[in-house]
Subunit: 284 residues, 2 copies
């Protein structure tokens, strides 16, 4: 892998920022708010930021870059697809539970649902995320879709995935803004910058930084998982991935199943280069 | 150009969505709020959403995709760089004026500055945008930077540009959320979904759609401006850009100045393919 050290530094930074974000959300609800429970009170609402940041931001972020972890390249592509789909499923379940918490809290307190821009875009994000998961499962995980369909759908799958992830972070920022204005009305007000406001503003900044790290790692073509045969060859010979960069630009997400069947011959190498030109379309 | 019709449809859709967003911001401030003036009142504040949506979202969006308009490929690269830099400069000036409007409004009404997450991330976006413009000018427009430096900086320039653009939209969504909560406190409240709330929520949704269109157009490698020589050949022969796709993946933004010097010979074509492998790093 090219620039392994830089990838590792970025990965550790992203995981750290994501982890600190989850901690900040817990400090917010336990230290400054009333903690967590499931009783229709604000304690039930508090599950919303915690589960969104843990699941819909942190776990989704890891699901996006899971193919790029070089130590997974020895694992089969289908196993990695299951891990990618599994992490996204966990993120989706946590997002749905976190939405149920808000609806129940609203209904218990006679607060209208779905009136804010945050709720509109948030619900759209959950719907598109579920659709993305369902279509990804049908096209890339089930063995029925032809390679031509997979190749055609992959650029859309990759772009939708990254766009939904960015939209989720934007929605979280709106949610933070709403919650701070509603819960810090006076003594102290949000505009007086009490410690809670500073902590949660910092949480928002961390979410943006997390998104920037994940999207950078996910969009570098030279950090893509190489085609199956090359990965095996690298692992058995202990060689560097010289010459595989062009091929590796093709294997974004879970496509390039055809590459699994390729041999490492010179003819196949040329074919790889050709396919690569098409594969660049899936390069986000 | 591959898929010219689809590019054109997307472009028209993006321009329409961007234009309607600007109209919506004007309807918001003129029909539902007090209009525009420069006197420290809320009418001065109202310049903030209008200028941000016009300049920092709409004009910045056009600046991002200006290299991709096929009818500009007959123009010289340096002219297109000036247009790209010029549009971004206009966007920056409008963003700064819109910030001054908010600071003056806050100061006139003794409202604290810089306490909200919106203000933190918004100010960071303006600072990074200005830095991006300055560095872009120094590295890509002035003739002093060596090609190696340009090649190294280009992927960062492209990624920063797209990330700042997405962050600006996220910040606008936070600003919309803040403003609707503050100005629709009661009779009617935001939670009662009066027409103003619906209009401005729709404005937020339009901004997200505009961002999705622009980022899709900006990240498709096959819609990149081809290297200078190929563009000229295409224009003089009226041919289709067959075989230029690989080369075109290199010319994102304003790099690949070396490609301007290339001949269209077979040797150069092979060299293009090699360079292209490296150039993919600039593919966002």
């Amino acid at each position: 892998m090219e620039d392994y050290g830089r990838f590792l530094a970025l990965l550790v930074s992203a995981l750290l920022v994501g982890f600190v974000s989850v901690i900040f959300s817990l400090v917010w609800v336990f230290h400054y708010r009333e903690g967590l429970s499931w009783d229709g009170s604000t304690r039930e609402f508090n599950w919303h930021p915690v589960l969104i940041i843990t699941g819909f931001v942190f776990i989704q972020g890891i699901a996006i870059i899971v193919y790029r972890l070089p130590w997974t390249w020895k694992c089969s592509k289908v196993l990695m697809k299951f891990i990618h789909a599994g992490l996204n499923t966990i993120a989706m379940i946590l997002a749905i539970v976190s939405m149920v918490a808000v609806f129940e809290y609203h209904n218990a307190g006679n607060i209208p649902n779905m009136y804010s821009l945050h709720s509109w875009i948030g619900l759209a994000a959950v719907i598109f995320y579920s659709l993305q998961l369902f279509l990804g499962f049908a096209v890339f995980l089930l063995p029925f879709a032809p390679v031509s369909l997979r190749t055609a759908v992959m650029p859309i799958h990759v772009y939708s995935g990254l766009t939904i992830f960015a939209t989720v972070i934007a929605t979280a920022l709106m949610g933070i803004t709403e919650k701070l204005i509603f819960s810090l009305r006076s003594n102290p007000a949000y505009s007086e910058s009490p410690p809670e406001a500073t902590l949660v503003n910092c949480l928002g900044v961390l979410l943006v930084i997390f998104g920037i790290f994940i999207l950078w790692m996910a969009s570098r073509p030279y950090w893509k998982r190489p085609p199956e045969e090359n990965a095996k060859a690298l692992l058995t010979t202990g060689g560097t991935p010289e010459g595989t960069e062009a091929e590796s630009t093709m294997t974004d997400g879970g496509n390039a199943d055809e590459s699994d069947l390729r041999s490492n011959s010179e003819a196949a190498r040329k074919q790889n280069l050709k396919l690569d030109e098409a594969g660049q379309r899936s390069t986000m």
